[in-house]
């Protein structure tokens, strides 16, 4: 596979691999503009893993599709910049994006059944992408595909090459999808809920595989998920999204030990864990996310927040820095601060009266 290894590592201080600045992706609908992604910025360096966490409608999928240039042709309004190795690709037409797909950035989708071609043999799906980017012979491409299947730990790869996707289990299909995405040695891999459709033991296998490949190839990996548990042990940095915005961003250890955004805290506390005794009452987040067409004036989480005050309803909090470098959050009354504790205590007092 040496033929398709990415080029020499960029020198320190060079441009980041991926730089997203103030990205907004809005969709036109009968009801008005849907603010799916609304001013998102982040950078991702080679060899790093970022976890992008959010619930349905938080904009995490539209964000990754915007980066890949996989948005519908019409009815979309886009703003902001996406730079890949310093080159602006945010407004690149699909014709131009084609040379990035596969060769520079790969993507793994949630449902491995619908993202593979059902009438094409597994081997062919991998060699198709190899032929698109590399000028190699058919024999060489096939050997390459075989070694890729081996590296993603598909048992008996020789036989699997000539099978169709429906003959494989969900876990094997997702391994094939990963092999397709890795075929031309991309520097960036976007994985959108890669394990959500898989069983828990298979999920662990696939996440381990992604991590091993990322390390081996010094790729950048964006791991998009709704599950804080999936990113906790695997991402270097975590971005929490809510209603199209980044609401908290921090190094993984900082996020879990010193979270400042009430939404992050509420999300973590609403997950049942196996350490709690059975019948533990869960701290559910009341209500549901706001309508992305008619967004509230103030903080987008205010209506569901345990810390909410009048200011939150009137004024949208900006992303502001936390104590640790790289930590940012969007809140007027942050978790664990005196003003946050006072705000929460006031709300609890009102409820009791």
């Amino acid at each position: 596979m040496s033929a398709i290894q990415p080029g020499p590592e960029a020198p320190a201080g060079a441009t980041p691999l991926l730089e997203v600045r103030d990205l907004a992706t809005w969709f036109e609908s009968d009801r008005g503009l849907v603010h799916a992604v609304d001013g998102v910025s982040f950078t991702l360096e080679r060899g790093r893993t970022v976890g992008i966490v959010g619930e349905s409608g938080s904009g995490k999928t539209v964000l990754t599709r915007s980066i890949m240039g996989l948005l519908p042709k019409s009815g979309v309004r886009r703003q902001g910049s996406i730079r890949f190795e310093g080159v602006e690709i945010g407004s690149a037409p699909p014709r131009q994006m084609r040379k990035y797909w596969g060769a520079h950035m790969g993507m793994v989708f949630q449902d491995p059944m619908t993202s593979l071609n059902p009438v094409m043999k597994v081997g062919h799906q991998i060699t198709e992408s190899i032929h698109a980017h590399l000028d190699v012979s058919r024999t060489f491409a096939r050997e390459l595909a075989l070694s890729l299947l081996e590296s993603v730990r598909v048992p008996d790869p020789q036989r699997r090459m000539d099978e169709y996707p429906h003959q494989l289990s969900g876990g094997l299909r997702q391994r094939v999808c990963i092999a397709v995405a890795l075929a031309c040695g991309p520097q960036l891999l976007l994985a959108d809920e890669p394990t959500t459709a898989l069983d828990v033991t298979v999920q662990a296998q696939v996440l381990d595989l992604l991590e091993a490949q990322q390390r081996e190839r010094f790729m950048a990996l964006a791991l998009v998920t709704h599950d804080l548990g999936v990113v906790a042990g695997r991402a270097d940095e975590v971005i929490v999204m809510y209603a199209g915005q980044v609401v908290e961003k921090a190094a993984t250890a900082t996020l879990f030990s010193d979270m400042k955004m009430p939404y992050t805290e509420a999300l973590l506390h609403s997950i049942p864990t196996i350490d709690q005794p059975s019948h533990t009452r869960l701290s559910a987040i009341p209500g549901r996310p706001p309508d992305l067409v008619h967004l509230p004036t103030g903080c987008r989480f205010a209506a569901r927040c345990a810390y909410v005050q009048d200011r939150c309803l009137e004024e949208q909090p900006p992303l502001r820095p936390g104590a640790t470098p790289g930590h940012e959050f969007r809140c007027w009354f942050p978790v664990g601060t005196p003003e946050g504790q006072a705000a929460r205590a006031r709300n609890e007092g009102v409820e009791q009266r």
Partner: protein, 340 residues
């Protein structure tokens, strides 16, 4: 593992539901799918039994066979003193209001062309319970009980609601016929985590308020632990282990239970699992399941005996039953090969 036996069943006089040696097989091209191969379960009144396992283990098929939808290939299902497998036609129909089901996908399990009020009232309308006025009052009461405002929901259709709200409507529809038993088949796996907690709390409330007994099926072990009084682990159509949740999760005796627990991603960066705890390989085909213990092909503790002889279920601790020839001792760690 994955054995048979009835050692874990309790005295028949105490239980609301008793499933014995349930077998469900389907004909397909090229053979017979052995979806459920000799499962025995029971439920004491007011209890929640959590049934866990990965896709294809037969947990949904078990639930449907209890409902006689379709009827099991063999085995007995005794509900409130009545043998369901012997009931036919009208007699079976009359039992149905007393056992209701809640499904995974709340949106597709509600008729999109009906109004919410009609959907919730359907069980009462079919049985002609009370007059129109009392039925309507009952619908309002149920909608209120699941946390929806009757006046603003009654005349709307399912597509106007979110997944979480549709699941609330499904719960109202299930509980309105005053069932004794509710079978929940992955009721929260299509929901976002913040909404999942709301629905789990609601199910606990409804259970208390309406004296329900619950068979709760899910693949998420943490969710199952949260709601259950007793947990049963399934693999490839067989039962592996049954026990009280706190004990079972603390000291799994079956290697497969240990593997499931080890694979759960924990939202804490400090508790990373290492590769040795990840179960390798895939679930074998249930057209031709392994001989003896069905888990033996992926089990690091498997011996020759596991291929020859199917383990039968036996007690290993107070209330904890396991179908394994070589169960884990308390605190015994287990290492899985990285690949299989």
């Amino acid at each position: 593992m994955a054995g048979t036996g009835t050692a874990h069943l309790r005295a028949e006089s105490d239980v609301l539901l008793r499933v014995e040696d349930l077998v469900v097989e389907f004909h397909v091209d090229g053979g017979r799918v052995k979806a459920v191969s000799g499962i025995s379960l029971d439920l004491v009144e007011g209890e929640t039994l959590g049934l866990v396992g990965e896709s294809g283990c037969g947990k949904s098929t078990t639930a449907r066979a209890v409902m006689q939808l379709p009827r099991p290939t063999s085995g007995r299902v005794r509900f409130d003193g009545v043998e369901l497998t012997e009931l036919k036609g009208d007699a079976l129909r009359r039992i149905r209001p007393r056992m209701q089901m809640i499904f995974q996908d709340p949106i597709s399990s509600l008729n999109p062309r009906r109004k919410v009020g009609t959907i919730v009232a359907e069980g009462l309308d079919i049985w002609g319970t009370g007059d129109a006025g009392s039925r309507r009052a009952r619908v309002d009461e149920m909608l209120g009980a699941v946390g929806l405002d009757p006046d603003s929901t009654r005349n709307r259709r399912p597509h106007e609601f979110s997944g979480g709200q549709c699941q609330r409507i499904s719960i109202a529809r299930a509980v309105i016929t005053e069932p004794k038993l509710i079978i929940c088949d992955e009721p929260v796996s299509a929901l976002d985590v913040s909404v999942q907690a709301q629905i789990l709390n609601l199910l606990e409330d409804m259970k208390q308020r309406y004296d329900l007994t619950m068979l709760f099926i899910a693949h998420d072990l943490a969710v199952v632990k949260n709601v259950s009084d007793r947990v049963a682990v399934m693999y490839l159509g067989k039962l592996c282990e049954v026990g009280p949740p706190d004990q079972l999760y603390e000291r799994p005796a079956h290697p497969y239970t240990a593997a499931l627990l080890a694979a759960i991603p924990v939202p804490d960066p400090a508790s990373r699992l290492d590769d040795a705890h990840v179960l390798g390989g895939d679930i074998p085909s249930n057209l031709d399941p392994p001989s003896g213990c069905r888990f033996r092909t992926r089990c690091p503790k498997a011996q020759a005996r596991c291929a020859d002889e199917e383990p039968s279920i036996r007690e290993v601790g107070p209330g904890q039953y396991v179908a394994c020839h070589f169960p884990l001792a308390p605190g015994e760690a287990i290492e899985f090969a990285a690949t299989a």
